[in-house]
Symmetry: C2
Subunit: 669 residues, 2 copies
C-alpha cells in the first residue's frame, strides 16, 4: 500500500535527527513546487522541532491511528500542512504514500491545502483558520483529563501537542483558549510557538510588539524559550513541559524557510514555492543529494522506528484495557453510543408534558429536557459562556470542572464564546463525551469561526442558544438576533432547531443527540411559550423538519408557517381567521429547515399545501421565499430591534396575530 512496506532490512548507515528533519524540508519544498501552490516556509522552519517531538516523544501508531490513548498532534498553523503530510509519509501512515504528496492540493487527494479532519488518517482536527487549532487542542487536553478522571491513568494518559504560528497567537480566540487552559491547569497541553518573526505582510514588528512568553506566563502557563534549531534544547524543553503542573509554551526561535540559502528568514518563503533554482540551492545547502520525493531507506527506517515504538505502546495499552475492570465503561464512552435510557426518558418527558400542557420558555424546556438526559447518561458535558442561569444549561447534581479537578461535567467557559465553541470541537474530536454549551443566539457571531468547523468536521457539538429574538426585550438591538437564523441555516451540515414549545424542544434535543455526524444549534426563547400539541405521538414530529400542527377540518384557504415563539402567533392568527372571518387556516411548525428540506418532495408539498402562504418569524426574511413562494407574505423583521419589554416590541414591529391574520385575509381576497 504505502512505501512503508518496502523497507525490510535495517540500514547500516547512521542517520542523524538532522537528516530526518531534512527529509521533511525536502518533501515540503518539492510538494509545494509540484503543486505550484502552498507554504514551504513553516515546514522547513519547524522541521527540527517536529523531528525531535516525533522522534523522541510522541506516541502514535500509524497502523491504528484512532487508538484512544494516542498523543494528539495539532498543526494549528495549518497552512504548513506539508509538515504534517511529510510526517505522515515518513511515519508510514497507510493512506499516505509518496504519490499523495505528489498530488498535494489536487482534487481528490488526501493532501488538501490545509489539514482536513477525515481526509487522511491521523489528522486530529481541521486547521487553517488561524487560532482554531490551539483552541481546539484546549478541548482535547481537557477531555483527556476528564476521561482520565473517570477511567484512570492506566487507560487515559496522553499529551496534546500543538504547533502554532504568529497568526494563531495574534487571533483573539487564542486569548480565550490560553486563559481557559491556564486557569484549568491543563498540564498535558504543550504548545510550540513557531517564533519566526515573519507574517504574510512582512516582519511581525509591522503589527505586534507582544511579549508572548510574558503573555502566556500571565495566563498561568509554564514557558520555555529555546532555539528551535537546537535539537537538544528542544528536547530538554519538552521534558520540562511534560513535568510541569501547568500547560506549557515552548517558544521556538526559528528561521522561516530554514535551509533555503537565499530566501530563509523572508516572508517570501511563507506562501509560495521556492522556485527550481532555490530548491536546487537548498539541496546543496542542507546536503540533500536525493531526487525530488526520494527519501533514502535508512532515513525512512529511522522514521518508521517512531511508528514501531508507538505500536508497541498501543499493544501494551490494549493489554491493560483487556485486563481493566473498567473496560466496558471505557469502551462504551469511547464508542459515543448513547444508552437507550436517554431516548426513553425523552419519550416519557414528552408524554408527561403534553398531558400537563406545560407552559415554559423553550430555554426552560431545554433545561428540563436536559435534566432527563443528564440523568440517563454521563456522556453529556455542559457549559456556558458565563450565562449559565440565562441559558439554563446546568442540571441537578452536575459538578463543575475546576483547576486540577476534572471529575465534574460542567464547564464555566467564561465570557469566551469562540473559545467555548473551539473547546467543544476538541472535546467531541477527542471522544468520550458529547459537549453542549450555551450563549445568547446573537453571540453566535462571536463563535462563528469555530461553529463553522463543527459543521465542516461533522462533530456532534450542541449549541444551546437562548434569547433568540426581539423576545429578549430590554437588552436591545445589540442582543437581538435578526440575521443569525439565516447565517446558521445557510451553513452546510448544521442542524438549526427552533422549537415552538416544550414538546418540540424535547424532540429537537433528541434529534441533536442522534445526529452523530453533525453539530446542532438549539434556538430557544427567553419568554414563556404555551404547549401547542393536541395529543402525544410516539413519533418525533420535529424529525420531519416541518409538519402540520393545526389543520382545519376541511380544505385550507391559507397556510401559516412559523418557527419557535412565532408558532404561538400563527396559531392565534389561525383562530382569529376562523372565528372572525370564517377562514380555514392550517398552521405549519417548521423547527428545522434542514430536516424539512431532506424530506421527499411529496411530503413537503403536502405540508406546505397549495393555498397561499404567510410565514411569520421574528427575524430577517432571507431564505423564507423558498417556503412562501412567489405570492406569499412574510411577517418578520426588516431592520434591527429595539430596547423595550418584549410584548411592546412584538406590537411595535407588528409581529402579532392581528398582523398575520390581516396579511392572510388580504392574500386570499
Amino acid at each position: 500500500m504505502s512505501q512503508a512496506t518496502a523497507i525490510k532490512v535495517a540500514p547500516e548507515t547512521a542517520v542523524s535527527e538532522r537528516d530526518m528533519a531534512n527529509a521533511i524540508r525536502a518533501l515540503a519544498m518539492d510538494s509545494v513546487q509540484k503543486a505550484n501552490s502552498g507554504h514551504p516556509g513553516m515546514p522547513m522552519g519547524m522541521a527540527d522541532v517536529a523531528t525531535v517531538l516525533f522522534n523522541r516523544f510522541i506516541t502514535i501508531d500509524p497502523s491504528k491511528p484512532d487508538w484512544p490513548d494516542r498523543d494528539r498532534f495539532v498543526l494549528s498553523a495549518g497552512h504548513g500542512s506539508m509538515l504534517q503530510y511529510a510526517l505522515h509519509y515518513l511515519l508510514g501512515y497507510p493512506d499516505m504514500p509518496i504519490s499523495e504528496l505528489q498530488r498535494f492540493r489536487q482534487l481528490g487527494s488526501r493532501t488538501a491545502g490545509h489539514p482536513e479532519y477525515g481526509h487522511a488518517l491521523g489528522i486530529e482536527t481541521t486547521t487553517g483558520p488561524l487560532g482554531q487549532g490551539i483552541s481546539t487542542a484546549v478541548g482535547m487536553a481537557l477531555a483527556e483529563r476528564m476521561l482520565a478522571a473517570r477511567h484512570g491513568a492506566g487507560l487515559v494518559d496522553h499529551y496534546t501537542y500543538v504547533i502554532a504560528g504568529d497568526g494563531c497567537l495574534q487571533e483573539g480566540i487564542s486569548h480565550e483558549a490560553i486563559d481557559l487552559a491556564g486557569h484549568l491547569k491543563l498540564n498535558r497541553l504543550i504548545v510550540f510557538w513557531d517564533d519566526n518573526s515573519i507574517s504574510i505582510d512582512g516582519p511581525t514588528p509591522l503589527s505586534t510588539s507582544m511579549d508572548q512568553p510574558e503573555r502566556f506566563a500571565a495566563a498561568g502557563w509554564h514557558v520555555t524559550p529555546v532555539d528551535g534549531h537546537d535539537m537538544e534544547a528542544v528536547a530538554a524543553a519538552i521534558e520540562a513541559a511534560r513535568r510541569s503542573d501547568r500547560p506549557s509554551l515552548i517558544a521556538c526561535k526559528t528561521v522561516i524557510g530554514k535551509g533555503a540559502p537565499n530566501l530563509e528568514g523572508s516572508e517570501k518563503t511563507h506562501g509560495a514555492p521556492l522556485g527550481e533554482a532555490e530548491i536546487a540551492a537548498t539541496r546543496e545547502n542542507i546536503g540533500w543529494a536525493h531526487a525530488p520525493f526520494e527519501v533514502p531507506d535508512e532515513i525512512l527506517w529511522s522514521w518508521r522506528e517512531v511508528a514501531e515504538r508507538g505500536q508497541l505502546a498501543r499493544l501494551e495499552w490494549e493489554q491493560r484495557l483487556a485486563a481493566s475492570p473498567r473496560r466496558a465503561e471505557f469502551e462504551s464512552a469511547i464508542s459515543s453510543t448513547l444508552p437507550a435510557a436517554v431516548f426513553e426518558a425523552l419519550a416519557a418527558f414528552r408524554k408527561e408534558h403534553v398531558e400537563k400542557a406545560t407552559k415554559v420558555a423553550t430555554r426552560k424546556a431545554s433545561e428540563m429536557a436536559l435534566g432527563a438526559i443528564n440523568e440517563a447518561t454521563d456522556m453529556t458535558v455542559g457549559g456556558s459562556a458565563d450565562l449559565t442561569h440565562s441559558n439554563l444549561t446546568i442540571t441537578k447534581g452536575m459538578t463543575r470542572i475546576a483547576p486540577g479537578d476534572y471529575a465534574g461535567r460542567y464547564i464555566h467557559y467564561g465570557i469566551r464564546e469562540h473559545g467555548m465553541a473551539a473547546a467543544m470541537n476538541g472535546i467531541a474530536l477527542h471522544g468520550g463525551f458529547i459537549p453542549y454549551g450555551g450563549t445568547f443566539l446573537c453571540f453566535a457571531d462571536y463563535a462563528r469561526g469555530a461553529m463553522r468547523l463543527s459543521a465542516l468536521m461533522g462533530q456532534r457539538v450542541i449549541y444551546v442558544m437562548t434569547h433568540d429574538s426581539i423576545g429578549l426585550g430590554e437588552d436591545g438591538p445589540t442582543h437581538q438576533p435578526i440575521e443569525h437564523l439565516a447565517m446558521l441555516r445557510a451553513t452546510p451540515n448544521l442542524n438549526v432547531f427552533r422549537p415552538a414549545d416544550i414538546i418540540e424542544t424535547a424532540e429537537c434535543w433528541e434529534l441533536a443527540l442522534r445526529a452523530k455526524d453533525r453539530p446542532s444549534v438549539l434556538v430557544l426563547s427567553r419568554q414563556n411559550l404555551p404547549m401547542l400539541r393536541q395529543a402525544h405521538t410516539d413519533e418525533n414530529l420535529s424529525a420531519r423538519g416541518g409538519y402540520v400542527l393545526r389543520g382545519p377540518a376541511g380544505r385550507r384557504a391559507v397556510t401559516l408557517i412559523a418557527t419557535g415563539s412565532e408558532v404561538e402567533v400563527a396559531v392565534s392568527a389561525a383562530e382569529r381567521l376562523h372565528d372572525q372571518h370564517g377562514i380555514a387556516a392550517a398552521v405549519v411548525s417548521m423547527p428545522s429547515w434542514e430536516l424539512f428540506e431532506e424530506q421527499d418532495p411529496e411530503y413537503r408539498r403536502a405540508v406546505l399545501g397549495t393555498a397561499p402562504r404567510v410565514a411569520v418569524e421574528a427575524a430577517a426574511r432571507l431564505g423564507w421565499d423558498r417556503w412562501i413562494g412567489d405570492n406569499g407574505v412574510f411577517i418578520g423583521m426588516t431592520g434591527f430591534g429595539a430596547s423595550a419589554p418584549a410584548p411592546d416590541l412584538y406590537r411595535h414591529f407588528a409581529i402579532t396575530p392581528e398582523a398575520v391574520a390581516e396579511a392572510a385575509r388580504k392574500l386570499i381576497i
Copy 2:
C-alpha cells in the same frame, strides 16, 4: 429643556466628590428598579472612578456634544448603561432630562438597555457585545493621533477613556485590540478595568486566573493598579496615565454594587434590580436621603461645573480653529465630504477600462480603482489583516502607520480581523477618515461581531473581502466561503457588493464611498474575470443593484441571474444557449441585492422578466428563491468546497456554462 436650566444660583453647601458619585449610584439603582430590568452593580461599583474621571479630567461640552476635539468616553461594559445615562443627566445633556431615566429600557426612550450610538447625544459608540467598546476605542485613539499628525496639536489633542469589565477583557477581541494599541503606542488611550472579580456565573475565579496587569504589560501598556474607591489614588493614576508614552490600563479594584449593604460584592447586583428593601438600606448606608430620581441642586450644580469647564475649552478651541491656517482642510476632513475629484476619477477609470476591455481579478480591479480614489483624496485610510498583497489594499505612495508615527495612511492590522473591524468602526466614528480594510471573505466569520456594529451604527466602513468563493482554489474548504454571502445579505443596513468585472468594481467602490450612513462589503474574486460591458455609460449601473447586462434582441426565453465571478459563467451559458439551441437568454448581473430590493417593483419586474429564471452563484442557495421564483433553478454550492485548482473545482461542483445552459434548456422545455 432639561432640568439643567432650572439651577440659577450657586449653592452654599460644600459638595464632596463622594456625594457626586452617590448621585450616580442612586439614579442607577432607582432607574433599574423602575424598569424592573437592567444592571445596577457596575454603575454603583464604578461611580467613584467615573466621578473622578469626569469631575477632574474629561473635557466634553454637553451643549455641543459633537465638538471634534472633545475627549471620547466609551462605556465598553455597556450593560452598565445607567452609569452613562446618570452622567448625562447630571452633566446636563439637553436630551437627557430626568424623565428619560424614568423611562429606562422603554420603547422610544433615549435610555436603551445598552448605550446606542445615535440614540442619545454624547454616546460615542454602541456597546453591549463585550469587548467591542475597548476595541472600537483603539480606532478612536488611533484616529486622534492620525488627525493630530495632519492638523497639529492646536486642533487635535484629546484623550479616549474607556471603562471595561471582566467580560471585555476575557473576550478574544480584547487581545487583538490590546496588542495593536500597545504596538502603536496609542498613549492617548486610557482604559479603566472595573476589577470587581464578579461575572454573571459568579466570582471570576470560576473561569479565569489571568493576571491582567501582567497581560497588559506584555502588550506594552503602562499599568497602574488602584483601589477604585480611593478617589485620590484614581486621580493620581489618571495623571500618570496621561503622562505615559504608552496606552494605559488603570486596574481599579472595586466592589460591585458598592453601597448596597447586603448585596454589594455579589453577582446578584449584576443584572437585576436590587429590590425596594435593599434600595432603602442603600440610601441609609450611603447617606442619600433624597427621593427616587431626586438630586439636590448643589450636587447637580457641581456636576454642571464639569460641563462649564468643557464649554470653555470648546470655545477656546473654536477660537484656535478660526485663527488656524489649516481651518479649511480640517473642516473638510471632519465633514467627511469627499471631493468631486474622487468621483470624476472613478468615472474616467470606468470609461478607460471599458475601452481597454481590461481583464483582471476584481481584487485587482479594486486595487486599481483604489489607486484612483486614494490619489484624489487623503480621507481614505487603508489596511489589511495581514493579507495586504492578497487583498491588494495598498496603493502607490501610501505610507504605513507605525509606533509613534501617525502621518501615514496604511495600517498593518495584523492577523486580527475582529480587531480590525472594531478599529475601523472607531476610526469612522471619530471622524476625519474613511477606513477600509481587507481580509478573505471567509474570515468575515472572525469579524462578525464588529461588522454587525458597523451596520447597527450606520458607519461608512468599507470591507474589502477577497478570495470570495471556491475560486480561491487550493487553500480548500476552510478558506472557501459558502454561507457568507447569505450571512451578510441578511444583515440589516449593510451593502453587500459582488461586482462581476472591473467596471462594476469601480461602480461598487463609488457606491460604497457615497453610502455615508452604511457600511459596505466589497466581495471580490481571486481569479481573473473578463470585462463584460459592451459600452461605457455615464450612469452607474450597479446603483440599481441589478440590471440586464445582456438582453436578447427579441423576447427572452429564459433569464440567467448571477453575481461576481459567475456572471461570466452566465454570459457564456447565454451564448451557448443561443448558438447551440437558438434559445434567447437574458443575463442579469446583480451586484447588490440590497440596492435591487430598494428599486421600485416595476423596475425589478422588468429586470427579472417573466421568463423562467436560472440563478448561478458559487455559494449557498439561501435567499436566491426570492429572485428565481417558484419554478426557478439555482446552480451553486450545496455543501463545503474542496482543495484543488479553481478551474477543477468549478467543474467538480458543476458551476459551469454547460450546467447553466442545460438547466435553462430543461426549464423551458
